[in-house]
Amino acid sequence: MEILFAIIIGVLYAAGIYMILRRSLVKLIIGIILLGNGANLLIFLLGRISEGAPPIIPEDSKMFLEAYADPVPQALILTAIVISFGLQSFAIILVKRAHKVVKTDDLDEMNATDEDS
């Protein structure tokens, strides 16, 4: 499964970079989201994946008695997911606003810093 996981991550990264390289603004945002998902999965995979062992201490004991999934990557990813929502919404609004002001969706036409409008 790890190999499949790695391939999925590779696909997500490749798709993310490809979309970021497009000139369309919306594609840029989608690219960032895909890349973020890829990164989350990468952290998850590198923390070693294990099935059926959530990092939750059983009700009747004070410590883990059996193997458990590493909680640190999970905590990292959880924050990353929530933060990326903030980032996405901000990026979407920025694109919307930029589109309104500059009246173009072409990133290449946005490279002048001193826009008159």
Binding site: Y13, A14, A15, L25, L41, Y68, S89
Partner: protein, 769 residues
């Protein structure tokens, strides 16, 4: 001593607040600061002459072994006295020279910062703090050269000086760190004890090169000399103080300080002798072709610095003695000549030596000062200059190596320096007074007393060399690591080869003075050689550097996002890929991997299909929907692999993201295909390469052993310490609570940003709406 060093900085700070009171008549009071310091340092003379070394240490960055320690030995004492003594005279002189100047307070502030930095430089016993003070002198020199900041030439010269000396500072830092690594200490005194280890170290030559780089730039050695003539754009007090008496000698100080540590090896001696000899001759010849008095003095200063480097290179008691005496000689006569030049410039309004003549009538005391300084510079008895020259010759002809060549070089230099001294000190005062200068007046005593004081000292020390023998000269020689007990300074050395050489020098020099008149024609002649001078070469280099950086900016900073991304990704792929495939072999241990079940396979296929659909669909709505599918598939993967918290979060966020997109989708720009086929292929290949690299890297990392220490710690303590069973949640709200606190702050900021972007009507966007 800490207070003594800081006094200059404190005074500068003080001037920031009360500067305006110091612009008028009170300006001269500021001279009390260097005077007090001079008295303070002079009070150490008895102790130092007994051979004591005084040190004080204050902790600064103890964890890196960087202390603010100060050591006063013979060498630092000599420099401290020069810095404060000449500083005192220059401070007083300035009060009159720049009387009523708009920024006089600023000038004093720069000067006192410089003084503090210079004192710190010569007193530091730690090479790192020495570096800091070294840089501070460069910076204050930059401000002082560019003091007249409305003139473009001043600004350019200041920048050149800063560039060159800044390069030297960089070299010093490199050398300091290297020496620190080699010896395990940054303390100079401690380095002294491990000379053997340092000299035999494999990086010895590199360290010496760095130290030389610093010393040669600061002390204007060939081929870095050209910033010094440019620095003459500074007001004359600055030229006197920084660019002849003190700052430019910092390089000499550095060399002397490290002579006992790194010196007395063929690398050290040969390099210094050759560079010193080239510098002294090269710039001494240059003095012949200058008509600006300050230009003449600048080149003769460089030449004198060359002599000092040369002497340090020769090594041995005789050479060090000569160097110690020559530092005093040079400081006295060169400062005098500069001050005299400043007076002439101030009163007559020109420094052109071809025009100046006969000023003796109006300013006799200034002439006396100039004359005495010229005598000392020429090495005519009974001045101390004579003593200095005799010792220099003595050291030269007793050195090993190609004696004739060395002797010829030094004698030639001395002849030319005599000429330079006469041109600056005597020429403007003698001869027929031109009509236009008949109105020139005598300056105030604040201006003419300092030079005459220095000039008289030059004669006094010459007549009674015992005055400086045991108090200043011997401790310096001792500090250089040579026994100084049998030194005896005397004006009369008996009739010997040295005396013959001296007589030849004086005779030929005076002859040269009467034959050769400085003229514009001569100056133009040397101007023809300008294109191959080091200065011109540097200018060309910096020109091409600008061209290159402009090209670089245009190519890489072109404002196209995709080009930046392409560059970064391409670089990563090539670099990481190269290292990765060059060095390691991917080993996948199939026993460690978990099985693929049917439903996992299905989810994965859906995920990949979703990604492909997102990328290739032509409809925005379809892309967003496909992205939602990708998110849900990831959510399922989290469920399969024991991350229920992640699955829940991913699910909610995925829902919200889709809602968000749908809300704004029709307000978003259409999904255009802007790039052509070729570009998409190119980007596709790059993306696939990057994705492949990440994939392989991930597998490679999986093959490495895992460190789960942190996770184990949290898991162990989650219930016992934090009363929680869900370890992920416990990490978030307890163990790493501060991180979470910052994270929700960031979220709040993002929300405020969104709110602000949409709700607040900025002026420019109002029109766009």
């Amino acid at each position: 001593m800490l207070i003594a060093v800081l006094l200059g900085f404190l005074f500068a700070l003080f001037l920031v607040f009360v500067g305006k009171f110091f612009k008028g008549k009170l300006a001269v009071i500021s001279a009390l600061v260097p005077l007090a310091l001079f008295i303070y340092f002079a009070s150490f003379i008895p102790q130092i002459s007994k051979g004591e070394v005084i040190s004080q240490t204050h902790n600064w960055v103890p964890s890196f072994g960087v202390n603010l320690g100060f050591t006063l030995d013979g060498l630092s004492l000599l420099f401290s006295l020069m810095i404060t003594g000449i500083g005192f005279l220059v401070f007083a002189y300035t009060a009159s020279y720049l009387k009523g100047h708009k920024y006089l307070d600023r000038f004093y502030a720069y000067l006192s910062v410089f003084m503090g930095a210079m004192l710190g430089l010569v007193l530091s016993d730690n090479i790192i703090s020495m570096f800091v003070f070294w840089e501070l002198t460069s910076i204050s020199s930059f401000f002082l050269i560019g003091f007249n900041n409305t003139s473009e030439a001043s600004r350019k010269s200041a920048l050149t000086a800063l560039g060159i000396t800044g390069f030297g500072g960089f070299s010093l830092l490199a050398g300091a760190l290297l020496l620190g690594n080699m010896s395990g200490t940054y303390n100079i005194a401690e380095m002294l004890t491990m000379r053997e280890a340092l000299v035999d170290h494999q990086y010895y030559v590199l360290a010496v090169i760095f130290i030389f780089g610093a010393a040669f730039t600061k002390s204007a050695q060939f081929p870095f000399h050209f910033w010094l003539p440019g620095a003459m754009k500074a007001p004359t007090p600055v030229s006197t103080y920084l660019h002849s008496a003190t700052m430019v000698k910092a390089g000499i100080y550095l060399l002397m300080r490290f002579t006992p540590v790194l010196g007395d090896t063929p690398t050290w001696n040969t390099t210094l002798t050759i560079i010193g000899a080239i510098t002294m001759l090269y710039s001494a010849i240059h003095t012949l072709f200058r008509t600006d008095l300050k230009g003449v003095l600048a080149y003769s200063t460089i030449s004198a610095l060359g002599i000092l480097v040369f002497l340090i290179g020769l090594g041995g008691q005789a050479a060090f003695l000569a160097a110690a005496v020559f530092i005093i000689v040079h400081a006295l006569y060169k400062a005098t000549l500069f001050l005299v030049t400043g007076i002439i410039d101030h009163q007559a309004g020109t420094r052109d030596v071809t025009q100046l003549a006969g000023l003796k009538k109006m300013m006799m005391p200034v002439f006396i000062a100039g004359f005495l300084a010229a005598i000392s510079s020429a090495g005519i008895p009974p001045s101390i200059g004579f003593l200095g020259k005799e010792l220099t010759y003595e050291a030269s002809i007793h050195s090993t190596g190609i004696i004739i060549l060395i002797a010829v070089a030094i004698v030639l230099t001395k002849i030319l320096l005599l000429y330079a001294g006469f041109v600056a000190g005597i020429k403007p005062f003698t001869g027929k007074l031109p009509e236009k200068f008949s109105e020139v007046k005598m300056p105030g005593p604040l201006m003419w007393v300092p030079p005459i004081l220095l000039a008289v000292l030059g004669i006094l020390f010459g007549v009674f060399p015992a005055l400086i023998e045991s108090s200043l000269v011997k401790p310096v020689v001792t500090a250089l690591g040579v026994d100084a007990s049998d030194i005896h300074l005397a004006l009369w050395h008996g009739f010997n080869t040295v005396l013959v050489l001296s007589l030849i020098t004086i005779g030929v020099g005076i002859l040269l003075y009467f034959i050769l008149k400085p003229s514009v024609k001569l100056e133009n002649k040397i101007g023809k050689l300008e294109p191959i001078s080091p200065e011109a070469i540097l200018k060309r280099i910096s020109y091409y550097f600008t061209v290159l950086s402009r090209f670089w900016t245009n190519v890489f900073q072109n404002g196209y996002l995709r080009n930046y991304v392409t560059t970064v990704i391409l670089f990563l792929v090539i670099l990481v890929g190269y290292i990765f495939f060059g060095n390691s072999r991917l080993v996948i241990d199939h026993n460690q991997l978990s099985e693929i079940t049917a439903y996992e396979m299905v989810v994965s296929v859906i995920l990949v299909l979703g990604v492909f659909y997102t990328v290739f669909t032509k409809s925005r709505l379809a892309a967003v929907a496909a992205m939602g599918v990708v998110g849900l598939a990831i959510c399922l993967l989290f469920v399969f692999y024991s991350a229920p918290d992640l699955a829940m979060t991913q699910f909610s966020i995925d829902t919200l993201t889709v809602i968000l997109f749908v809300l704004v989708l029709y307000r978003l720009p259409k999904y255009l295909t802007l790039s052509d086929y070729k570009m998409r292929i190119r980007d596709g290949i790059l993306s696939l390469a990057f994705g492949g690299l990440i994939c392989v890297l991930a597998l490679q990392v999986l093959a490495e052993p895992q460190n789960s220490e942190i996770g184990d710690f949290y898991a162990k303590n989650a219930y016992i310490e934090a009363h929680g069973r869900n370890v992920v949640n416990v990490i978030l709200v307890d163990f790493r609570g501060t991180d979470t606190l910052i994270e929700i702050s960031v979220l709040a900021i993002a929300a405020i940003g969104v709110f602000g972007l949409l709700k607040l009507r900025l002026k420019s966007s109002d029109r766009a709406n």
